[in-house]
Symmetry: C2
Subunit: 395 residues, 2 copies
C-alpha cells in the first residue's frame, strides 16, 4: 500500500441540520448561487427552508434551477454565466448527485475562460483540471452518489453523447450538510437505485483494487451489509428515519475516500454505465444494477477467490465442498436477487435498451480509463469484446 489521502470537507450530519445551512454558508461567502434540480425541493418546502436559513444568516441567494438528471455541460455553462453576472462568491448545491456535480463544475467554471467541457475528461489531448473554484457547500436530498463529500463530478455532453468525470482538490466542498430528513420523500424506485449506487461505489474498489488491503476490505463489507439492511427498510417504508439515516451515512462513506484509501481503485462498472446513460436517459443507479452483476460474473472467472470472499463475508455463504468459483457465483446470484428484491432492474431490456449500440457503448466505456492497449482499466482489464459480451449477457 502506497497512497495519498486528503479530504478537507467538513461534514455536518444528522436529522434537522438543514437549519444550520445559513450559519455554515456565512463562513464562506455572502452571495450564494443556489443550484437546484427539477422542482422536488420546491414541492417539499426544503427550498424555502434553505433560503430562509441562508438569508437569516446574511447570505443572499441567486437561484440556478433546472439541473437535469445526468447533468449537462450546457447547464454548467448557464450556471457559471449566472454566477459571474450576479457576482456570487459561493455555490450551494441543494439536490441529488446531478445537482451537486453540476454545482461543483459551475464553481470551477466561474474562473475558467474556456469551455467548461475542457475540464471533463473525454479523451481530449489537454485535459484542463481546475485549480480554483468558488467555495462549495453541498446539501444532498438523495442518498446515492456520495458527491457531497468528495472532489469528483460527472457531467454529460448531449451533443457528443459522452458522459464523463472530473476530479480535483478545489472541488472538495467546504461543507457537506447531510440531513437525512430531506431524503424521507424520495420515491421508492429512486431510493432503491441509490442503494445500488452506494453498493457499487464500494464493490468497484473491492473487486478492482490492489491486493493487500485487509482493513479496506472490512470497511467495504461493512458499508455493503449496512446499505443492504437499511436500504431494504428504506425501500419498504420511506418514512423510516433510522433507515434513511443509515443509508445516507452509507452513501457518504461509500465514496468519500475512506473505503478506497490505499486501494487504488478503478471503476469499470461505472465507466460502462456512463456509456449507457450518455445515450439513454436512464437513472445512473438503475444502469448500475444491470451492469454490476453482469460484470461480476465476467470478473469472477479471473479472480474467483476474491468473489468467494464476498460471498462468504457479505452473504454468509459456506463453501460446503464447492470451489471458489461456484461459491462466487452464488454470491453474485444473491446480490442480484437483493437488487431485484428492492425493485432494481437487472436487464437492459427493463431500461428500454437494445443491442443496437453495444459496440458504441464498448467504445465509449474505455474512453478515459484505459491501458496502453486501449482496454478499460479493471481487474481484469476489458477489451471491447469483453465489454460487449458483458452487455449482451445482460440483454
Amino acid at each position: 500500500m502506497k497512497f495519498e489521502f486528503y479530504n478537507p470537507t467538513r461534514l455536518i450530519f444528522g436529522a434537522g441540520t438543514l437549519s444550520r445551512l445559513g450559519e455554515a454558508a456565512r463562513e464562506h461567502g455572502r452571495k450564494a448561487l443556489l443550484v437546484t434540480g427539477g422542482g422536488s425541493v420546491k414541492r417539499t418546502g426544503v427550498f424555502d427552508r434553505a433560503v430562509t436559513s441562508l438569508e437569516k444568516a446574511g447570505v443572499s441567494v441567486v437561484e440556478c434551477a433546472g439541473i437535469e438528471p445526468n447533468p449537462r455541460i450546457t447547464s454548467v455553462r448557464r450556471g457559471a454565466d449566472m454566477a459571474r453576472r450576479e457576482g456570487c462568491d459561493l455555490v450551494v448545491a441543494l439536490g441529488g448527485g446531478s445537482t451537486m456535480d453540476a454545482a461543483k463544475v459551475i464553481a470551477a467554471a466561474v474562473f475558467y475562460e474556456g469551455d467548461p467541457w475542457d475540464m471533463i475528461g473525454h479523451g481530449q489531448e489537454n485535459w484542463v483540471l481546475p485549480t480554483r473554484a468558488l467555495p462549495i457547500i453541498t446539501v444532498p436530498t438523495l442518498a446515492a452518489t456520495g458527491s457531497e463529500m468528495n472532489c469528483g463530478a460527472v457531467i454529460s455532453n448531449d451533443e457528443v453523447k459522452v458522459k464523463s468525470f472530473v476530479k480535483a482538490d478545489c472541488l472538495f466542498p467546504r461543507v457537506a450538510l447531510a440531513d437525512p430528513e430531506l431524503t424521507l420523500t424520495v420515491p421508492r424506485d429512486q431510493t432503491a437505485y441509490g442503494v445500488c449506487d452506494i453498493i457499487t461505489h464500494v464493490t468497484e474498489g473491492y473487486f478492482n483494487g490492489v491486493d493487500g488491503t485487509p482493513i479496506q476490505d472490512r470497511f467495504a463489507e461493512g458499508v455493503i451489509l449496512t446499505a443492504m439492511e437499511y436500504g431494504r427498510r428504506a425501500v419498504a417504508d420511506g418514512g423510516d428515519l433510522e433507515a434513511r439515516t443509515q443509508v445516507q451515512w452509507a452513501s457518504i462513506v461509500a465514496l468519500n475516500g475512506w473505503v478506497q484509501a490505499g486501494v487504488d481503485a478503478v471503476h469499470p462498472v461505472h465507466m460502462i454505465e456512463h456509456a449507457l446513460s450518455a445515450h439513454h436517459d436512464v437513472p445512473h443507479g438503475a444502469g448500475l444494477a444491470v451492469v454490476n452483476p453482469a460484470w461480476m460474473r465476467f470478473a469472477a472467472k479471473a479472480r474467483p477467490q476474491r468473489f468467494a470472499q464476498f460471498a462468504r463475508r457479505v452473504f454468509g455463504l459456506q463453501a460446503d465442498g464447492r470451489g471458489d468459483l461456484e461459491l462466487a457465483m452464488e454470491g453474485i446470484d444473491r446480490f442480484e436477487a437483493f437488487l431485484r428484491s428492492i425493485g432494481c432492474p437487472t436487464r437492459l431490456s427493463e431500461l428500454g435498451i437494445g443491442d443496437e449500440l453495444i459496440p458504441r457503448y464498448a467504445e465509449d466505456a474505455a474512453l478515459v480509463l484505459r491501458d496502453e492497449h486501449g482496454n478499460l482499466l479493471g481487474r481484469p482489464p476489458m477489451s471491447k469484446a469483453d465489454i460487449e459480451a458483458v452487455l449482451r449477457s445482460a440483454l
Copy 2:
C-alpha cells in the same frame, strides 16, 4: 446519529515515503523545529535522512531533541521557547506518539503568552483551547497512538502528577507522512504495546459510543481483526514489512476519526490509564493492556449484548446455548489471551504498580471527562468505587 466530522490532514502513506518529507514541508515553511525523542531516530539514521530531505528542499532545521515518553509540559515550554527564539515557521515531529503530541502543543504554545499547561484540560476553570498553531508535520516512527492524523495531544505534568489532553482544530497536522519502513526497528515489546493501543482506541468507541452506528461497528471490528492478525506477525518478525504496513495503517484509522464518526465516544479506559502513567512511567500501551480487559469485565455486566457481538464478530464465537453475558466473558478472555500472547502485561503487578495509590488514580481518572455527579463518563458511567474495583481486579 448527529455529528460533525472534519479532518483536513493530508496523509502520505507507504514504504519509502520519508524521502518526500522535504517536498511536503516546503509547502508550509522554511525553518522547521524538528522535534525528536530519545535518540533511536539518530541510531537508525532516520534523523539524518529526514534532515537531508528537509535541507535539500530548502527547509532549514532547528533540533528540539529529548522529548520523553509520556511527554512533559516542561518539554513543551522548552520547545516553544526554542521555536520562538529561532524564528521557526513550521514544526516537524519525528518519533512516536509522545514526540508528536509534544510537537503539536509546542506549535500552539508558540502563539500563547501564558503557560502552555493552560491548554491541557486538568479540571481548571478556564481551559484555554488553542486556536492558532504553527503548521505541523508528523512523521511517526511507531504504530500506536494515531496522533499523526488527528488533532489531539496528551501531555503530562510531573509537578502535579496529572496526564491529560487537548483537542483543537489548529492541531491537525498539515501533512502526516507515514513510512512503515521507519517502524521496522521498533522492539518487540513496544510493537505489542502499540497493537494494544490501536485496539483500545477502537474498543473505547465500540463499547462507549451511542447506539445505532452499524457502519462504525463494522469499521471498528475490521480494525481490530486486522491489528490482531498483522500485529501478531509484526511481533513475531519485526522485519515483516507487510505486517508493519498493515499495523501502521490500522494505527492511523483507529484514531483519525473515521471509526469514531457519529459514535460520540468517550474514553474511560484511557482516562484510567492516564491516571496510572501520570504516577508511574509505564508505557501507555502496556497500561492499557492491564486496564482494558478489567474494564471490559465490569462494563459487560451492564451491556452483555454489545460484548457478545464483540465475541461473535471478532473471535467468531458461537453462543451454543449460552446467554450473552457468558459469551461476552469468553470474548474478553480471548482478547486478554491475545494480549498476553503478544507479550503485553495484563496485571498491575507486572507494571510494578501496587494498591497504595488506587484511590488517587480513581480521583484523577474522572478529572476531566465526568458527569454532573463526578462519575467518569462511559457506558456505564463509573463512580470512584467502580474505578477502584476495576483496578483492584487487575492487581
